[in-house]
Amino acid sequence: MVVNRRGFLAIAGPGLFVFFGGERASAYQQEPGRIPARTAAAADFNAYLRIGADGRVTCFAGKVELGQGCGTLLSEILAEELDVAYEQVDVVLGDTDLCPYDMGTFGSMTTPYLGPPLRAAGAEARAVLLQMAAEQLGAPADRLRVNAGVVTDPASGKHVAYGQLVEGKRIERHMEKVAPKPVKSYTLVGHSPADRKDGQEKVTGKAKYAGDFIPPGLLHARLVRPPAHGATLKSVDTTAAEKLGARIVKEGDMVAVLHERPDLADRALGLVKAQFERPQPSVDDKSIFDHLLKTAPRPQPVGRPAGDVAEGEKQATAIVEETYLNSYVAHAPMETHTAMAVIEDGKATVWVSTQAPFMLKPQLAQAIGFAPEKVRIIAPYVGGGFGGKTAGPQAVEAARLAKVTGKPVQVMWNREEEFFFDTFRPAAVVKIRAGLNGAGKIVLWDGSLVGGGDREGRPFYDIPNQRTVSAGGWQGGNPPGMHPLDVGAWRAPSVNTNTFARESHMDVLAAKAGVDPLEFRLNHLTDARMRRVLETLARQFGWKPAKGPTGRGVGVACGMYSNAYSATMAEVTVDKSTGHVRVKRVVSALDVGMTLNPDGMRQQMEGSITMGLGYALTEEVRFKDGEVLDHNFDTYTIPRFSWLPKIETILVDNPENPPLGGGEPPIITIGAVLANAIYDAAGVRLLQLPMTPERILGALKKA
């Protein structure tokens, strides 16, 4: 199971190799079952870099390029520390034969876990090369200068390139304690490179995704699917499909139609007559919330309680209780789940759109009865993940079919399959009971999270008497049938739901106290970083304090994710006759510690704001009795160009703190900031996401 260093070297050839990990990295990214890093020879690294005789620097890491720009960031860091040109750096990602183990690309962890050790590894490699150059040039190492991978002795004018130094040699180093450069001296990191590493390929159509690997003899497979979750196949007649020249595979629960043209496989599938027995009527997108409350397991405490809620009840002079709801939300990446499997000489190689190639490898090996070392997973460019591509069921389908047919097989889900098999962001019910004392301070917070998960469920505000409990979530382990659809991680799992509820309720309390919503938050915040983010944001936005609702349509919300601080202000208009919301302006501020790639971070912030408009305003999966009623983008509405507000992004730079990932924190506030802005505009509080025109009209009618 352990792919050791020798295995990598056999593939990687000559050059200088630096293997690196780091305490946080090895704790998190260690292969399950592996003996602790320091006692296992050559196991204590989770990425490595090679400097080849051509002078090119290659970083091998098990991360996946989902669009977040990790290849760009890793290249930048290496170029900076090694004093080579950004263009001289290549990145090999997501290949289980070439890259060391990595748990997966999610949770905003690439930057914090791989960034610091990569800096150190670059520094280490540079030190080794300088020592070699010193010997070759006959000059002390500390006199030498490096530019674009060429080492020069200013005294003699003699120079030698990195490539020349390693030519014909194989040097292996584990990372020692060579200090990276001071951040202040950086010229590339923190300043953003000119081009993304994946740019040329992506604008020319050359970028290859899992569906773009088309070996000779490839068969495209379409599978017979049930009409509803829980339906069972009773009979199947494939005669007509066979007449169309399609090959049929029936194996266990799988019935597949294969053809060398994907659309003809699809046509043949349309001729398959399959009879299913539907499940008993159960639950739909309207009854789901009662269902969750009925089926939830015993609640567990979230974080540490403080004080005594009974005491809080006594101290409170005003108590407000609300229940916040959100529906199932789809990932809907533009690239559907796709895989292509080739089995040759007893080895399966599978190109897969996945965020977690190393998690998939043993699962796929088991499914086709191969030893894990006989399976290679390659995650090429992935067309969006957002947490929805952590498992790889389509890869298992492709590999099983490749094994049966002896041919390369591609499985590319259509959009209906993508909606049907998605691991949705869970529907959830959050109930919060909170109380204010006569001075307008929160003295009670009693929260109950059901269905969505516990992350960031405990408020970070200063509240003397509080407890939060959670029952069920996105991570599995729920009572059978609690979530009638598969659920999983969705960009900042739990935290969109919990931030919507908490930050909505903070606004409710602020209104009750008759205090400006920003001031009310600051009155309950001693965390200096959150205060600074909010204050910076308010200045840029031009926040004018007033007790709500003011009719101006402005709102604020803040939150934390993976130690990052995120705050957002928005301005909306609400058409009271149609219930339609127009988001005019969104300003987002983020403190992720040291910002390594400012432009990359802004891309993530803009993307988060835009994607967030969907879950806030339109996106909910409709379903009934196991059937997913949304099949495509005609009924499941995701954000479009005409929705775009004016977007402004603020990086609250904090170079003294370690860098954190920013792909998720900026999205967590979008539901609440829009709910709060809608309240400010129209005077009605929306308690359910998405805030559709129907729900807004309903709230206006009740008001």
């Binding site: 159509g205 533009m334 559907t336 992935v382 957002f386 993307g607 160009f641």
Partner: protein, 157 residues
């Protein structure tokens, strides 16, 4: 029905002997090996499969190959054949993509816009691009890139 369909593909003559009711997307990807054109929804709802046929942006997932007989078809592979097109350069410069999956369709839809309307207003860009979906949220930069390309193209593409 199987027929020989001839058309111009990225400036060169092309000919395929296929069931002419098949959709252009799959003929491009599977028969002709041009994988830059992407499948996204299969129902002309997302724009990932957009190609240019006789200077118009069309959805190749819903365009039968018989309907391009004798016509000029341009895919993303053909756009930058002699150096990157101004739109491609602008997408690169503005980082107007993340995962990149919708990008070929975005670029070609923008290309069709600039053919018709060399100096589009922001509102015209928004309206024209409206039915191309991007899940990563690169929209802001896509609009900026198209504006820049329109400037760079100096009145013609």
């Amino acid at each position: 029905m199987e027929k020989t369909i001839s058309f111009t593909l990225n400036g060169k003559p092309a000919s395929v002997k296929v069931d002419d009711e098949r959709m252009l997307l799959w003929v491009l990807r599977s028969d002709l090996g041009l994988t830059g054109t992407k499948f996204g929804c299969g129902e002309a709802l997302c724009g990932a499969c957009t190609v240019i046929v006789n200077k118009q942006a069309v959805r190749s997932c819903s365009t039968a190959v018989k309907d391009v007989a004798g016509k000029q078809v341009l895919t993303i592979e053909g756009l930058g054949q002699n150096g990157l097109h101004a739109i491609q350069q602008a997408f690169l410069k503005h980082h107007a993509f993340q995962c990149g999956y919708c990008t070929p369709g975005m670029i070609l839809t923008a290309y069709a816009l600039l053919l018709q309307t060399p100096k589009p207003s922001e509102e015209q860009i928004t309206r024209h691009m409206e039915d191309n979906l991007c899940r990563c949220g690169a929209h802001v930069r896509i609009v900026e890139a198209i504006q820049e390309a329109a400037g760079a193209a100096k009145g013609g593409v």
